[in-house]
C-alpha cells in the first residue's frame, strides 16, 4: 500500500490527485480490507473529486471574469467619448451639455477628478489624525475595561449606511456649515483665498467633512489591529528604559506599525474615492472645477448618480460612463497599492499559514 499524502514535498497543496488508502470508514471497503480503489491506476482522481474541482474552479473563474467584464463593459460603452476626445478627456476642463440655444457640447473629466481628489483629500486631512489618534488611544492608552467598548463604538460608525450619513448631512451638517462654520471660515481664513464665493452650506468642504467621518472607522480599525500586533516586548523594553507612555508609543509601536498604518490610510483613501450617496446629497452637483473650498462641485461618483440617465445625447452618456471607467481604474490602483503594502506587513505570516 502506498503511503501518500503525508510526505512534505508532494502532498503540500498538490490537490486531490492522490489515490486514497481505503479508509476504515469507507463503506465500499467491505470486510476484507482490499478496496476496489486500490485497483485504480495511481494518479487518477475519483469522479467526485473532479466534479468538486470543476465546481470550485468555476467559482474562481466567475470572479476573474467579473473583474474583466466590468472593465470591458465600461470601456465598450465609453467608446464614443474616447473616440471623440482621446486622452484629451483626461485634461478637459469643461463639461457643457447641449441645449436648444446652443447644441455645443464638450466633456472633460477634470472637474470631477478635481472634485473627487479634493473631497477625498479633505477627508484624509481631517479623518486621518482623528482615526490615528483614536487608534493610538484605544490600543495603548485606554484602560482595559474601556478598550473593547471604545473600539466597538468607533466601529459602529461603519455600521451606519452611506445614505443615512447623506441624510444626516442634509439635516444637520449643511445648515450648520451654512449658518456657522462657512461664514466663520470666510471671515477668519478668507485671506488665504480658499474660501471665496457664496455660502450655500453644501459643497466640497461639507462633503469632505462627512467623508472624513465615514473613513475614520476604516483607518482606525486597521491601525488598531496593527498597533495591537506590536509585540509586548517592544513596549516593555521602551518602558524599562524610562520612556513615558507617549514616547513608548512613538518609539516602540509606531515604527513597527508604520507600514500597516500606511496601508490603512490607503484603504481609507480607496473608500473615500468610491463613496457615492453621502457625497451626492451634500456636494451641490455643479459640473465645474471648484474654485474654492466652499464651492459646490461634483465627484465622479456623484456625476454618475446624477447624470447617467439624464439623456443629453449619446456623447454625454458615453462621457459619463468613461468617467466611471476612470474612477474604476483609480480605485483599483489605489486598492492594489494598499493591498501590496498590507501584504508586505503580514507577508511572512501568510506564507507560513498557506503551506
Amino acid at each position: 500500500m502506498r503511503c501518500v499524502g503525508l510526505t512534505a514535498g508532494r502532498s503540500r497543496g498538490s490537490g486531490g490527485g492522490d489515490s486514497p488508502i481505503p479508509a476504515v470508514t469507507d463503506s465500499e471497503a467491505g470486510t476484507t480490507g482490499t478496496a476496489p480503489s486500490l485497483r485504480r491506476s495511481p494518479g487518477r482522481r475519483p469522479i467526485p473529486d473532479l466534479l468538486f474541482f470543476g465546481l470550485v474552479t468555476l467559482g474562481a473563474v466567475v470572479l476573474l471574469v467579473l473583474i474583466f467584464s466590468i472593465v470591458i463593459i465600461l470601456a465598450s460603452q465609453s467608446e464614443l467619448s474616447f473616440r471623440t476626445y482621446g486622452l484629451g478627456y483626461l485634461v478637459g476642463t469643461r463639461w457643457i451639455v447641449p441645449t436648444s440655444a446652443s447644441p455645443f457640447q464638450v466633456y472633460g473629466a477634470v472637474p470631477f477628478i478635481v472634485g473627487t481628489l479634493l473631497t477625498s483629500g479633505i477627508a484624509l486631512l481631517l479623518g486621518l489624525p482623528l482615526a490615528l489618534g483614536s487608534a493610538i488611544f484605544v490600543a495603548t492608552q485606554a484602560p482595559n475595561f474601556l478598550r473593547g467598548t471604545l473600539g466597538t463604538a468607533v466601529e459602529l460608525l461603519a455600521a451606519i449606511p452611506s445614505v443615512v450619513y447623506g441624510f444626516w448631512g442634509i439635516y444637520v451638517v449643511v445648515p450648520l456649515m451654512r449658518t456657522t462654520v462657512d461664514p466663520a471660515l470666510k471671515q477668519y481664513l478668507g485671506w488665504t483665498g480658499a474660501f471665496g464665493g457664496p455660502v450655500t452650506g453644501d459643497g466640497v468642504l461639507t462633503s469632505g467633512i462627512i467623508l472624513a467621518i465615514m473613513i475614520v472607522p476604516t483607518i482606525s480599525a486597521v491601525s488598531r489591529e496593527t498597533l495591537f500586533a506590536v509585540p509586548a516586548s517592544q513596549r516593555e523594553a521602551a518602558l524599562s528604559l524610562g520612556a513615558t507612555s507617549w514616547e513608548t508609543t512613538r518609539i516602540a509601536s509606531l515604527p513597527y506599525a508604520r507600514i500597516g498604518i500606511f496601508g490603512a490610510i490607503v484603504l481609507g483613501l480607496g473608500r473615500a474615492l468610491g463613496e457615492t450617496m453621502a457625497v451626492t446629497m451634500t456636494i451641490g452637483n455643479r459640473d465645474a472645477i471648484p474654485t474654492s473650498l466652499l464651492s459646490q462641485g461634483q465627484t465622479i461618483s456623484s456625476l454618475i448618480a446624477n447624470e447617467l440617465t439624464s439623456n443629453s445625447g449619446p456623447l454625454q452618456y458615453s462621457a459619463v460612463v468613461e468617467a466611471g471607467l476612470i474612477l474604476l481604474l483609480i480605485s483599483l490602483l489605489v486598492n492594489v497599492a494598499a493591498r501590496l503594502l498590507l501584504w508586505r506587513v503580514s507577508g511572512g505570516r501568510r506564507v507560513v499559514l498557506a503551506q
Binding site: D49, V138, I160, G274
Partner: protein, 293 residues
Amino acid sequence: MSSRLQRRKWWSHLLTVLSGLCVAIVLVPLVSVIYTAARIGGPALSLSFLTSNPPEACTPSPGITCAVGGIGPAIQGTVIVVGVAAAIAVPIGLAAAIFAAEYPTRWLGRAISFTADVLTGLPSIIAGVFIYLLLVIYDPAIVFSVISGALALSVIMIPIVTRTTELSLRTVPQELREAALALGIPKWRTTLQIVVATALPGVLTGTLLAVMRAAGEAAPLLFTLFGSRLGFEGFNRPAQALPLLIYNFAESGAENWRELAWGASLILILMILVTSVLSRLVIARMVRRMRGS
C-alpha cells in the same frame, strides 16, 4: 534633569488627552446621527409602521392631517433582494475561496486572492452601473427588477465573501487536511466537512459582513431596483429597499415622507446593529463549542 523629565511627562499626558479627544470627537457624529434618527423617525415607529405601505405625500397644515403609513414594502424588499444576492454571492465566493486556499500552487489561486482583495474596494455605484449596462443590452425589461438589484449587490458581496472565507480557510492547520487525506477521505469531503467546517465561524462572519454591507447600500440599486410603492411582485419586477427608499424620500417636499425616511433610517441602523451583535454572539458560541470548552 527633572525639569526635562517633567516636560516629557507633560508632553505625554498632553498627547494622551489629545488622542482621547480624538475618540470623543469621532463619537460626536455617531451620537448625532442616531439622535437625529431617533428624534425625527422615532415617533413614527410602531408595528403598523413596519407592515404598512407608504402614505400619500403630504405636509401637515391647518385642516390637513397626514397619514403615517409605513415601510413594509421596503423591509420586505431589502430582505428579499439581499437574500437573493446572498444566494448568488455565497456559493460563488465560497467556491472561489476554496479554490484559492485549497489548490494554492496554481497561479489562478493567487490571482483569485489578489482579485478578491482588490475588488472589495470597487466603488459601489460602479457595481450598479455594470449591471445596468449589461442588462440594457441583454433584456431591457429586467433592468429595473429584483434580480437586477440582487445581481448588483452580489457584485459587492462576492469579493467580501471570497476574501474572508479564504483567510479563514487558511487558518485551518495543514495537519488536519493531511490527516483526513491519510485516512482516505476524498479531497472534496475533506474540504467541505473538515476544513470548511473548522473554519465555519470565520466563513459565517464574512458572509454576515457582506450581508450587512449589502443591506446598507443604495448606490448599486439606483439604476437597478427602481423602487416601488408596492411590495414584492415578482423577481422580474421592481421592488423597494430600505436604503433606496431613504434616498428617494429624503429630498421630498412632503414632511411625512421625510419623517418616514428617518424612521426607515432608524430601522436600517437597528437591523445592521442587531445582526452584527447577534452574529458575534452566535459565532463566539460556535467557537467555544468547537474548542470543546
